[in-house]
């Protein structure tokens, strides 16, 4: 049977992108939570 390396690299490549993407998503979410929120604008009198 031929080796089909393209399929192997496709599977591992997609997995790497998905896992790295989820990790970045979590990192962004955590960073957004730790940043101080901007104070609400005061209403004009």
């Amino acid at each position: 049977m031929p080796d089909n390396w393209a399929y192997v690299f496709a599977a591992y490549g997609i997995a790497a992108v998905a896992l790295f993407g989820y990790w970045r998503h979590l990192a962004r979410r955590a960073r957004a939570l730790t940043q101080p929120r901007p104070a609400p604008k005061a209403r004009p009198a």
Binding site: M1, P2, D3, N4, W5, Y7, V8, A10, A11, Y12, I14, A15, A18, L19, Y22, W23, L26, R29, A30, L33, T34
Partner: protein
């Protein structure tokens, strides 16, 4: 603790890649495409672990009403969906050169797709309900009912005539794998469990911070 777990998971994945690509020999029948197993099998076992934790968190929440259990269940459900998606995609890519098709309505593939959709539904339900108590209660019921599908997925290859091969490990019969392939597989399973533990720890922490800031 979480940081150390992250580095350990990264190291585990590197060792796993080395085990799968450098240590494990080329499989005699399928050739090198069989190396997808070191991604596919750990992914599905990690998904089982994640959905098992959804079940545990859901039962414990209904019994105690402590929000920590709901956070565990919701976080594990999200990561379980990710690993189930990886299982389906890697299996489909493996299926094309070995079975000649990307997808077939075989019992194992169909039950895995149902498992994926059930937990996508679980996450959608969580995102649709705003009241935290009602969300946790309804999600717990779905989390418990959804777990019924886990043994169906695992034993589908025994219960029905399936194109998918029998379980490589965790089956009733001894594993048919040769030692180097088995060792590479176990190394990758450990690496995936470490990665899951790290992602779960971060996700639970985020959920806790979100609840405190609301």
């Amino acid at each position: 603790m979480t940081r150390a777990l992250g580095w350990l998971a990264a190291l585990g994945l590197l060792v796993g890649l080395a085990a799968g690509f450098l240590y494990a020999p080329r499989e005699a029948v399928q050739g090198n495409v069989q190396r997808i197993m070191y991604l596919h099998v750990p992914s599905v076992l990690t998904a089982y672990l994640a959905f098992g934790l959804v079940l545990l968190g859901s039962i414990a929440y209904l019994a105690t009403r402590r929000p920590g259990w709901d956070r565990l269940a919701g976080s594990a459900g999200e990561i379980g969906v990710l690993f189930t998606g990886l299982t389906i995609v890697s299996g489909s890519i493996w299926g094309k050169p070995t079975w000649g098709t990307w997808w077939t309505w075989d019992a194992r593939l169909t039950s895995t797709a149902v498992l994926f959709l059930v937990y996508v539904g679980y996450l959608m339900l969580r995102s649709l309900i705003e009241d935290p108590d009602a969300r946790a209660r309804y999600a717990a019921v779905v989390g418990i009912l959804g777990a019924v599908n886990i043994p169906i997925v695992h034993f589908s290859v025994k219960w029905w005539r399936a194109l998918h091969q029998p379980s490589t490990i965790l089956g009733p019969e001894p594993s048919p794998l040769a030692f180097p392939l088995k060792l590479a597989l176990y190394v990758n399973i450990v690496a995936f469990v470490l990665l899951f533990s790290y992602l779960l720890s971060r996700r639970v922490e985020i959920a806790r911070t979100e609840e405190e800031t609301v």
